[in-house]
């Protein structure tokens, strides 16, 4: 009880500090562009890695085995890929146009109105869905690990994040994310080592799986090779279209900060991903030996930890999941607040209010909407995570990668890409759920492909005219 009171006091003090030091839109949405590569790299990685990694990842390993690694196989590439494909262009646009938000970047390149409005809409919808993943992940971890109602844990994590995000925006958000990133990395390594040790070491764990369920060691098992490559590509290119990743480029203090950003991001990312491999491998081996049982793959990690009876590991795991939830939620809440209070009004021709009051209220509203969506949805965490990632990829990949770099890209092509991409992705997602579309069709990539074709065809026509 004393611990909770101390935590709540520290949180309130942090929020108060943020409130006092955040007086402008630039401070609220971009932390006044004072962030260096270490803070941006660790914070960005923490924001990108959510409960999906701690809860969904090991669970997905138990479900499809080594094939689940295609989601994280691109991890060594993604830090540099983001900087090559979008980061350098974004930093250049920020310098010239003083952009504060992701829709600002699109508007700077393609003009006001529809490009800004559609980008803001995609950010809002995708961010609320991704926020819901956070709440759901916290709820599952809370139920199994702490034995308290899931809605209570999920609600408390979101409420705490809303408090400091509404007060200080990204000025408090990036500091909290970086601290949470360090906690996540340390906890992930500890949990991975623990899970593998409990399974008798990595070799023993692999031997167990090879003996009892060898198909789980097949890299092309589960959804099959074509679908697996689709997942690999979705998560490799998708990093260039996630607004909570792109947002970190808006926070950088100078262009030189880009140089070491991929190194920090990659190091932090791989440290946290050890939980996917370690807990996935160790937990699956224990489950196959009959030493663990669960109803849904998402319960693998929480069940493994709960089964130890070790209070220390349970607390480490709970803290790591809550840190993952809060770090991702802070960025997403800020993005939704920016989209609702700045970009959508600007897209409709109105001047956004300079006051931070509406942004703070929108932050609260986004938190409530995400919590409601999470508690009503029955989809597993991993699938909700892929859905959110896919929506951002389908909507934003063509305009952010192709649109920002290709001089021939025209406004109407960008508008078409922003509209068609998510429509195709959501339709394909629905068709796959009903069985009308084979599993090897990756909806996020299909949407991005449709958007890219729309962008080049309509831009080409315009150029031709």
């Amino acid at each position: 009880m004393i611990l909770w009171i101390l935590l709540a006091t520290a949180l309130a003090a942090f929020a108060l500090w943020g409130w006092r030091h955040t007086r402008s839109a630039q401070a609220f949405f971009t932390a006044s562009r004072t962030v260096g590569p270490v803070l941006a790299g660790i914070g960005g990685t923490a924001a990108g890695l959510s409960a999906f990694v701690f809860v969904g990842g090991p669970g997905y390993f138990a479900a499809v085995g080594a094939a689940s690694l295609w989601i994280i196989f691109s991890a060594p590439l993604t830090g540099a890929l983001q900087c090559w494909a979008v980061g350098e262009r974004v930093v250049s646009l920020v310098r010239r146009h003083d952009c504060l938000t992701v829709p600002d970047l699109v508007a700077a390149r393609f003009g006001e109105g529809w490009p800004r409005g559609l980008t803001a809409l995609a950010v809002t919808v995708g961010a609320v869905a991704t926020l819901a993943v956070q709440v759901k992940g916290a709820a599952i971890a809370g139920e199994v690990l702490l034995g308290v109602p899931g809605w209570l844990v999920g609600g408390a994590a979101v409420a705490a994040t809303v408090l400091y995000s509404a007060a200080g925006g990204m000025r408090t958000g990036i500091l909290a994310e970086a601290a949470q990133g360090v906690i996540m990395a340390a906890a992930a390594v500890a949990l991975a080592v623990f899970a593998l040790a409990r399974a008798g070491g990595p070799r023993q764990a692999v031997a167990t799986i090879a003996e009892l369920r060898p198909e789980l060691l097949d890299p092309w098992g589960g959804p099959g090779p074509t679908a697996s490559i689709g997942l690999f590509l979705l998560f490799a290119l998708g990093t260039c279209a996630q607004p909570h990743y792109l947002q970190k480029f808006l926070l950088l203090r100078d262009r030189e900060s880009l140089r070491w950003l991929p190194a920090v991001m990659t190091g932090a990312l791989l440290a946290v991903l050890t939980v996917w491999i370690g807990v996935g491998l160790g937990g699956t081996a224990l489950w196959l030996r009959g030493e663990l049982s669960f109803h849904s793959p998402d319960q693998l990690a929480p069940t493994l930890l709960a089964s130890t009876g070790s209070r220390v590991f349970i607390i480490i795991a709970a803290v790591a999941v809550v840190a993952a939830v809060m770090s991702t939620a802070a960025s997403l809440l800020n993005l939704v607040a920016a989209a609702i209070t700045r970009d959508l009004p600007q897209a409709l021709g109105r001047t956004p209010t300079p006051s931070l009051g509406p942004a703070r209220v929108a932050t609260l509203g986004a938190g409530v909407a995400a919590a409601a969506l999470a508690l009503m949805s029955n989809r597993p965490v991993a699938l909700l995570g892929v859905l959110g990632w896919g929506t951002f990829t389908a909507a934003l990949l063509p305009v952010m990668v192709l649109g920002l770099s290709w001089k021939g890209a025209a406004r109407r092509g960008a508008i078409a890409a922003l509209a068609i991409g998510p429509l195709v992705q959501l339709s394909a997602e629905w068709a796959r759920t009903t069985g009308a579309l084979a599993i090897r069709w990756e909806p996020g990539l299909l949407g991005a492909a449709a958007g890219a074709v729309a962008l080049v065809v309509l831009s080409k026509r315009k150029t031709g005219q």
Partner: protein
Amino acid sequence: MRRLVPVSVLLLVTGWLAASALDLPRVAVVVAVACIGAVCVGAISRRAPDRRLAAALSVILIALLAVLLFLLGRGTGGATGFYLQLAFMAVLAPIVPLVYAVTFPADRDAP
């Protein structure tokens, strides 16, 4: 560049659609690696005439293509594929960010 981009995009999309529709994993691998290379073209052109990035990326992408095709070729069974996945990630993890840092253009060279 202005004309090359639409053609490349249409070729990559067609390749991807064909791979998905006909369930052709080798084509999917080639297209996936080509897509990763394609999104880096802008960065390569920003660094011209310095060709270090183009050379380093070519080596990384060829290695990626070789590993993916090897994994496809050897089929199922055993833990070799799983170990190869992990080993490739471990090898690339320090190399790619280092390539980025070393080939990052100084501010005076930036467009």
